[in-house]
């Protein structure tokens, strides 16, 4: 019976947000008015044990003295094993999470832009850049989901711009393959 109950509970545990984290695992933090409520929001990036970066967004008054669990928790939001991610606040109350990676082939940068829109935090833009070690140029794929625009720059320098009807994504969402297939070297 106990084993049965344990099996029933396992999927819930697997997706539950951690109630405690190691202070050494914190990779980034900003506190700013992002428009989601009367109090400024707190955005926290935390490394998990496997190199993934979890995203937390929570509101907390600095003088309330009351703990509240983060309202938003997105495990595996980004991946960066070498360099720490960069959180950057933008003037329009949105923010970006930038991660850099390097390999034998080159260096890549991936930025996700998040904003509070229509009652929820959503991904409103993405930027995917790759700089090959050969120094030939850069492959850049930029997605503006608010304006419905995507721009693809091949290493050869050729630029393709298309309009898209892909709406801003939920925080655990991903771009459809029909859009990313333009993003090629």
């Amino acid at each position: 019976m106990r084993l049965f109950m344990l099996l029933m509970l396992l999927p819930t545990w697997a997706h539950a947000q951690p109630v405690a984290i190691n202070p050494a695992s914190i990779a980034g933090y900003i506190r700013a008015d992002l428009g989601g409520g009367p109090e400024p929001e707190n955005v926290l990036l935390v490394y998990d044990n496997e190199g993934a970066i979890d995203l937390y967004i929570y509101t907390r008054s600095l003088n309330s003295g009351v703990f509240r669990a983060p309202e938003i928790y997105v495990p595996g939001f980004a991946y960066s094993t070498r360099t720490p991610p960069v959180l950057r606040l933008l003037p329009d109350k949105s923010f970006t999470v930038l991660v850099n990676q390097s390999s034998g082939l080159g260096a890549s940068a991936f930025a996700t832009r998040i904003a509070y829109r229509n009652g929820a935090f959503r991904i409103i833009g993405m930027l995917d850049e790759f700089y090959p070690n050969t120094g030939e140029g850069v492959r850049r794929c930029a997605y503006d989901l608010e304006r419905g625009l995507a721009s693809f720059t091949a290493i050869s320098g050729e630029v393709v711009e298309i309009s898209t009807d892909v709406a801003p994504l939920p925080l655990d969402g991903d771009l459809p393959n029909t859009l990313t297939e333009y993003c090629v070297d």
Binding site: A20, A24, R60, L62
Partner: protein, 184 residues
Amino acid sequence: MRILIFAIFWPMMALAQPTAIAPESVIGFLQTDTNGDGHEERVLLTLSDSNDVDLYIMPDTGAKPLAYVQAFTAINNDRLTLVAAGNSAFDVVQTTRHGQGTTVFSQRIGWVNGADAGYFTIGLTLRIYPRYENASVIDCTIDFLNGRLETTINEGEMQVFDVNMAPTRPGAPLPEGWNELCAG
């Protein structure tokens, strides 16, 4: 027997630095070189239920804090920010609004070499912006390392004094008399 074991270990437990914190307790973060070693440490502020703020200085890699100060400060309707200050120090800036105006109190924490090497509070800045027009704006900075106090009233001429105050450890009581020197 259990009580005896607990009694032996309790003081160690009480002094131990936490290895786990609630994610929502984080209220400040800064990544910068705090000790001049060329690596960027991570400075972290967390808030407890009792409004005490704990300070952590974490290495760029590794899980053991370089420094941990329990109840470094307390806040109540304050704003607390971390600001990099050169390549071996950072400021903890506490802004308080009150009936008389706004007070900005900044503690500069940095690495000091020597026999007792470690992190120290190496400077303080106090700025008071009064609410009333005819009151004085006070701007006062004490540099403990160089024994220097600079004060300016109403954006007038800066006055410089020699002071003899040793740096203290972060979270320890500030050198006696600093408040009188600045605000007095």
